[in-house]
Amino acid sequence: MKRTVPLMIVMVGGILMILQYFIPHQISQTVFAYYTDWTPIIVAFALVLGVGSLTRIHSHKIRRKAKNWQYSYAVLIPLFGMPVLAHIWPVSLSGGMESPSIFHFTFMHVQVSIQATMFSLLAFYIASAAFRAFRAKSALATVLLLSAVVVMLGQVPIGELLGRWLPETGLWILRYPNLAAKRAIMLGVGFGMLATNLKIIFGVERNWLGGTGK
């Protein structure tokens, strides 16, 4: 019941879904329609796991007064505040999740600003890294460096002013040698995914059972 049945569900479900792809019979289409209808509903509940874990970790931190425990309130208050503002107590100008509302405001002006700025910090760090670490130490590193410089210049308008050959060469690198490298990686990843799919379906890969799998 605890191990065998879930493994059976995986195997039967996996094989059924592979078969339905190759047998587009009315019955298999109906099963597929039910499947695509139901699965998002089932998986929606998985969000509760994430929220539960987050709550547990941060409430634990607050209880134990661990290092920087005060910041855990900054996680927990919006975590539960957002759904409350959206559905239970929509303190807003026009209600709930619509704009303008506190819910929409918090997302647009707090979440978006913070997240967009955090990502933009990387511009500074990549410049610093380029200065400190991007060295033509070997022939291969030089090729990497040259390819990067040509593509960087080719992608911006100033590259065009420096010479038409720059954007043309940049595009050529992207369309041919870059494509070759990325296709090889894509094929490798593709084969890897197929192997993993089969390993999960046939119960060779069981990490998803979690814990000791008892």
Partner: protein
């Protein structure tokens, strides 16, 4: 008024994050934690509104879609993860999702990432009207793909004409590809900074258009 307050709040948080460039500080840490809380809370609210309520709760309450109890119960089994004694029950919905999605992915992944790619690699090297750089490009694309694949093939030692030379050419092709990726990564990171500068100087301070 609503917009103005919003832009001021956004600008202050933007500056709070940039303060990290000088030194790690409590305002940055606060913002960092807020992001986690808001995104999870936002996720809960949206998931309930778009999926759980209209696709499960409303039809069940209307009384004529009892069959939806099946996905509903399977979904609720996820939550047993928090009750150690019956936590194994959560393996049922996980198993259902894992198995079926692997089955769905298998043929389509095979088609999109393997068969179509092999097909794409089989192009005529030359056709009338092609410029020399396109012909050269096609040769590099085909041989380069093969060489890069050889480089990633670890079941044989990289020695001899085929595996040895092939893998050497492969790593050169891969380096050109990674160089291009680095160039684009720089472009991407700068773009994100541009977005914030436009927000600060345009939306907030109105000194640029």
């Amino acid at each position: 008024m609503y917009e103005t307050i919003g832009i001021w709040v956004g600008a202050l948080f933007t500056l709070a994050i940039y303060s990290f460039l000088y030194k790690e500080n409590p305002i940055y840490r606060l913002a960092e934690h807020l992001v986690v809380g808001i995104s999870a809370g936002y996720g809960m609210a949206i998931t309930y509104q778009i999926t759980v309520k209209p696709r499960l709760i409303d039809p069940l309450l209307s009384g004529d879609h009892w069959i939806l109890l099946i996905p509903g119960i399977l979904g609720i089994l996820y939550i047993t993860r928090f009750i150690p004694r019956i936590s194994w029950l959560s393996r049922y919905p996980i198993g259902f999702y894992m198995g079926t999605s692997m089955g769905v992915y298998f043929p389509l992944t095979m088609k999109a990432n393997v068969l179509r790619q092999l097909e794409g690699a089989m192009v005529p090297l030359y056709q009338s009207g092609m410029a020399w750089y396109e012909v050269t490009g096609n040769i590099i694309m085909i041989l380069g793909t093969l060489a890069a694949l050889i480089y990633f093939f670890f079941s044989k030692p990289h020695k001899g004409l085929f595996f040895g030379t092939g893998s050497k050419i492969g790593i050169w092709v891969i380096m050109v590809g990674f160089g291009a990726t680095f160039g684009f990564t720089v472009m991407g990171r700068i773009s994100l900074l541009i977005g914030r500068i436009q927000y600060l100087l345009g939306d907030w301070l109105h000194v640029i258009e």
